[in-house]
Amino acid sequence: MKREHPDSGGSGSGGDFSEPAAASANGKNKCMEEPPDAGMDELLATLGYKVRSSEMADVAQKLEQLEMAMGGICGGGGGGLGFCGGDEGVVSHLAMDTVHYNPSDLSTWLESMLSELNAPPLPPPSAASTASNLPPPPPTEILLDDPLAPAESSTVTTVDFSHNRHGHQIYTSCPSDYELKAIPGRIVYGSDDSGPDKKRVKPSKPSSATTVDLPAASSSSSTSRPVVLVDSQETGIRLVHTLMACAEAVQQENLKAADALVKQISLLAASQGGPMRKVATYFGDALARRIYRRIYPSEDLSLDWAFSDALQMHFYETCPYLKFAHFTANQAILEAFAGHSRVHVIDFGMKQGMQWPALMQALALRPGGPPSFRLTGIGPPQPDNSDALQQVGWKLAQLAETIHVEFEYRGFVASSLADLEPYMLDVRPSEVESVAVNSVFELHRLLARPGAIDKVLNTVKALKPKIFTVVEQEANHNSPVFVERFNESLHYYSTMFDSIEGCGGVAASGGGSLSPGSNSQDQVMTEVYLGQQIYNVVACEGADRVERHETLAQWRDRLGSAGYAPVHLGSNAFKQASMLLALFAGGDGYRVEENDGCLMLGWHTRPLITTSAWQIGQTRTSDDEPPISGLTRPESDSP
């Protein structure tokens, strides 16, 4: 995986743990096979284990023994909840003392483990019978489920993520050729912690502990416990390679190969966890849609708009990107409007108007009192002919009335921004009224049709705005080469999904006054929102492909050559943005960067969205200097 990020590290190291736990999970659990035709052998082989189907029962039994051996030690702590806090010293002792050979050959490895650990006398008959009552797992399928989902039913094995991450230290001394980083053992028995204790503690541990362990374990074995034996890093890398190979195949029109690869993608994706799995699923789907384009009808964009409005609200609520965009753009607009008594804002993408309450409030509280505020909202036609724009206008008018700001609103329906003409917007002369134009994630859509962007930029120039704020995604998803586009967007959306996991995850656990379900629902809807974008970038072409994101450098060029000069966003915007991000749960992952006057919000090292501000550049009278945007223009002072 190109992206190095805590999650994979976390799940990697979290799973870096005990084989016995993982393996015993394999044994105890009724393993479910994915596709009916894949033999157990093959499937485990993909994951790095070599087990013959015929030996499965035997392996399973040995695993149980191992489990019992280890469970007995740890069991002392709290009955069914078997994990004691892993004793660091003991763990490392086992790690150093034991030698594992070829752990991928499960059966021999198990034998060596058992002999090593000097399996205690078999637990009392009741426990033993419980254990043996477990029907030998038939060669059934492995349930490749989301390994990060805790095992719901089992008490013993219930995930204590921190313990497992701790416990994983046991096996860090595995032979270097074999990197078992099983998916976090949080899903399986935490009894890995107990293993090392075995050496120190007398084997004659009260087997009551094991008795407690086992029934719980056995009772839950009948319900499907989500377990994955996976070398997650390896599969992760394989997944990425498969995705890229599939994209190559699609580009070369090798549809048969692409088809096969898509199927493999879904299989591999299922073995991953968390954001990687979701991203891979979306991209796999998108590739499938592209391959079978004839079967999937070209998307009805108007339906998309209404739906995507609602989805964008979830995106707004879950993560800070839109809020960041709004707050920074507002700051720029506020500064540009300083001292003006009549102001007019034109919003290219009105949606729910969430950007404007904050601006109105800031205008209301500015020294000298609020100006007269006029807002023109532009939006796409709604499929059900409801006048959404007008409704938003009413709501904003209500707020304006509350805070005593003189407010005027006009909604304007246009299916594309290129349809706008300056006269339509009824802009009053600039001595009377100052204009600001705001575009959040709207400009890139214009790149789908030739000439549209230039027309719009000219229209905006004709409006003579004091400031033109632009917020766009920071990525190049508009390359004519499909594979490049694919790889770029894979990287970009992986980072995006990671960041959502960062802030969504905490939300799901907290809940506050909202039901816990609604928080994760927000997250899901946010992912759907991003998924729509992924589908568009990968599966669509031509005029349908509207998500044509470009980088800041590209926008700079474009706007510069269209006659705009950059306006530096001041430190106020930067401070507000940083503060805003600190409020978010995953706050430490977000980074605000200043890039030559523009602000970029990113996740760890990767910038994801950029806010920039522009004004009409003065006439170029540069003699020798080429009209490089931004470098020769005088910049306005930000107060």
Binding site: N330, H404, G510
Partner: protein
Amino acid sequence: MQTNKEEKNKNSNKKKKKRKEENPHLGFTINDNPDLLMEVLHRLDGRSLGVAACVCKLWNSVCTTDSVWEALCNRHVGRMDGCDDGGRSAVVAAMGGYKRLYTVCIRPVRTRLGNRAGWTRDEIQLSLSLFSIDCYERLNGLGSGSVEPPSSLAFLREPVNVR
């Protein structure tokens, strides 16, 4: 909570009466001087105000007046760059009042950003921006009609590990 308050109320009233009966010369009780009480409460911090609101009905009524919370919010701010305090009061009052501003925005913001002694202008501005969004949602029945409260500020409501 309600029963507690009522009980406390009854108890304190009883005690007051008793004390007055026993010591007719103990002329001064704070509850007889709500203005003075107001002055004192003006100087409390947020949590103390919350506690004070639970003492008795009188205290509760004083603590729920917005001016006390306004004093709290304005205390460390001083004059914000010539911003008109009167104007600000009007706006905040219109948007839902200082008490709500404090509980919904300022307190979570401060907690998450680390409770420093003074409030910076940026914190206030950020809080006000968030508050305006909250007000917008509430005004438009995004919250009132439906079961769930307005959720744009949901991220502020969730428990967060403050570093």
